[in-house]
């Protein structure tokens, strides 16, 4: 099976405190640690496991700048065969639909049986997979937490729904699936693995390579525009315990006792 996995380079929120820049135009990006979107690691792992079971190839693709190449290499070190970088100034300021439009054009340059995305990325929008499927007129299933490839024409997939229940579906190939965390255990990649793929050539496609005009992607085409970033004042917030660690411990125990938090 020929599998394409869409991956995004994002600031790692478990490593960083996200700060809004002074003018509110962006977040402070200078000191951020970036990594591959958590959900996309699960998608790449799933693709590799499918390939190992029934053969085929895994290609990872991203819309980003030169620095996004590092996430492609990381996923190739996991076991993806090919990487494709989609990079052009014209892509800047794209909204979700713009990103999906760019990915669609790249999908049509290849021939894929299965396209995987993460369920969501740092914007928490969970939009690109479903948009891409609709543009390609392929069936779609989101939040997939199990994939059974025993049939060559259709997959049996589980979707994780409310309460952790699993909705089973049959979906015809080719199709697009968005992958939920927990579907597998993504393999570890060490420095050595990344070094091994350091010199593998990664083709870059620009807007014109993909036949995309400025009216289709980028800031000009975006119907959704981010105006600023801010940190909201939500209600009163928590009463923060102050003082030395010992004082905090003592205060906390007092509160726990008062509220029935210690049996």
């Amino acid at each position: 099976m020929e599998i394409l996995v869409c991956v995004k380079r994002v600031p790692d929120t478990s490593e960083n405190e996200i700060e809004v820049s002074k003018d509110g135009a962006d977040i402070e990006r200078d000191d951020l640690v970036y990594s591959v979107n958590e959900w996309d690691n699960y998608a790449v792992e799933e693709a590799i496991q499918i390939k190992d079971k029934i053969g085929g190839s895994v290609t990872v693709i991203t819309v980003g700048d030169e620095e996004a190449e590092e996430v492609l290499r990381r996923e190739m070190a996991m076991g993806a065969d090919n990487g494709i970088l989609l990079d052009d100034e014209a892509f800047e300021g794209s909204d979700g639909k713009g990103i999906a439009t760019i990915l669609k054009a790249a999908v049509e340059k290849g021939k894929y049986d299965l396209i995987l995305t993460g369920a969501q990325a740092d914007d928490g929008a969970a939009q690109v997979g479903g948009m891409l499927a609709a543009m390609l007129d392929m069936p779609y299933a989101s939040l997939v937490n199990s994939v059974d490839v025993s049939d060559a024409k259709k997959l049996k997939v589980g979707r994780e729904i409310e309460g952790g229940n699993q909705e089973m579906n049959e979906i015809e190939l080719p199709c697009v699936l968005s992958i939920q965390t927990g579907i597998n255990e993504p393999r570890y990649v060490g420095i050595r693995g990344i070094r091994k793929v350091a010199s593998v050539e990664i083709p870059t496609y620009t807007a014109s390579d993909l036949g995309l005009g400025a009216d289709a992607v980028g800031a000009g085409a975006a119907k959704v525009k981010r105006l600023d970033y801010f940190v909201p004042e939500l209600g009163e917030g928590a009463e923060m315990l102050e003082g030395s660690t010992e004082e905090k411990v003592a205060k906390l125990i007092e509160l726990l006792k008062a509220k029935g938090g210690i049996k």
Binding site: G130, F230, K248, G261
Partner: protein, 321 residues
């Protein structure tokens, strides 16, 4: 002004809570908005929901079709595309059905799409100004959405107050879904397994998140819980890593808990996690990041490294006994 619609899901003949939240949301976009509700399904449950909604919506579109008996987003999307006017504003919920349905719907309607909206700040011409969050709630953004050619907007559940006025006395309109053939077939729902401890019944929970960093460190959480007489629950990443059973997960894709006291350690406070905490417990959060979103919703916060703080707390509780 464009027509407003609200796609409303339902179960056991009762509309989802979001049904009344969507009215408030629509009015925040445009105070003069008149919203048409849409429900899909089959059988008596559907009739019941449609009738219930006439109290709140002047018009309720009812799609009764066997293919819609289970809410398969691929089928619902086709029914909606076959019926909705191109430049309408459609609201629905940012939940597992909304995520499945809405992004593709916006493409098929050629309209703008914004997911997981937490507030609206009105309308300027055809631009809707709204608020959403990024980086798991660490920052918010103002967003301008050009709805000139329509918009599909999904709302975060629980943030818009319910419109309880129920004075619409509307009517139900039967709609024909049209061709809804799809390439995805619903088979069945497999219900989540029950665990050794039923956290939905626990009075005190110590809930652990990714901040615990390593499986071996879970030991200190178990020790704290034992000292308090609490049960241990967790956020999703702990289950994804297979460190604890799924039956310990609190949140929209886990269990809904109703304890008296909820002590969250190393949890950032995503809405999917907090959505599983009901009954207004006393929430205490320990997190090393003073800006962690959980401090906005907790009653009491402590900015500390849990790996150091938890053992001290445990010791002090045991000593005090």
């Amino acid at each position: 002004m464009a027509q407003f619609f609200a796609y409303i899901s339902h179960g056991d003949g009762v509309a989802d809570d979001a049904a009344l939240e969507m009215i408030t949301a629509a009015k925040k976009i445009d105070p003069s908005a008149s919203v048409t509700a849409i429900v899909t399904g089959s059988g008596p449950d559907l009739d019941k929901v449609a009738n219930e909604l006439t109290a709140s919506y002047p018009e309720v579109w009812k799609f009764n079709n066997d293919a819609l008996a289970y809410p398969n987003a691929e089928v619902i999307r086709k029914a909606l595309v076959n019926n909705l006017p191109a430049d309408c504003i459609l609201l629905t919920t940012h939940d597992t059905l909304g995520m499945d349905l809405a992004p593709g719907l916006s493409i098929k309607l050629d309209s703008a799409y914004v997911a997981d909206v937490v507030d609206f700040e009105g309308l300027e011409g055809s631009d809707i100004k709204l608020v959403r969050q990024e980086f798991s709630g660490q920052v918010s953004t103002h967003v301008k959405c050009d709805a000139g050619n329509g918009a599909v907007l999904t709302l975060r559940p629980g943030v818009f107050p319910a419109d309880e006025s129920k004075s619409a006395s509307g009517n139900v309109v039967d709609k024909d879904a049209g061709d809804v053939s799809t390439k995805r077939k619903y088979l069945e729902v497999v219900v989540a397994e029950v665990g050794d401890v039923d956290i939905t019944k626990s009075e005190i929970l110590v809930s652990v998140g990714r901040g615990i960093e390593d499986q071996d460190n879970l030991e200190i959480v178990h020790e704290l819980a034992e000292a308090m007489g609490a049960d241990v629950s967790c956020s999703r990443p702990i289950v994804d890593a297979k460190w604890l059973e799924k039956s310990r997960q609190v949140g929209t894709s886990g269990l809904t808990v109703k304890p008296k006291v909820y002590l969250a350690v190393g949890i950032s406070g995503s809405f999917q996690h907090m959505g599983g905490i009901k009954g207004n417990p006393f929430v205490i959060a320990i997190n090393k990041n003073p800006k962690a979103p959980i401090f906005q919703v907790a009653d009491v916060g402590v900015t500390e490294d849990i790996l150091e703080f938890i053992p001290e707390l445990t010791e002090a509780i045991n000593e005090a006994k």
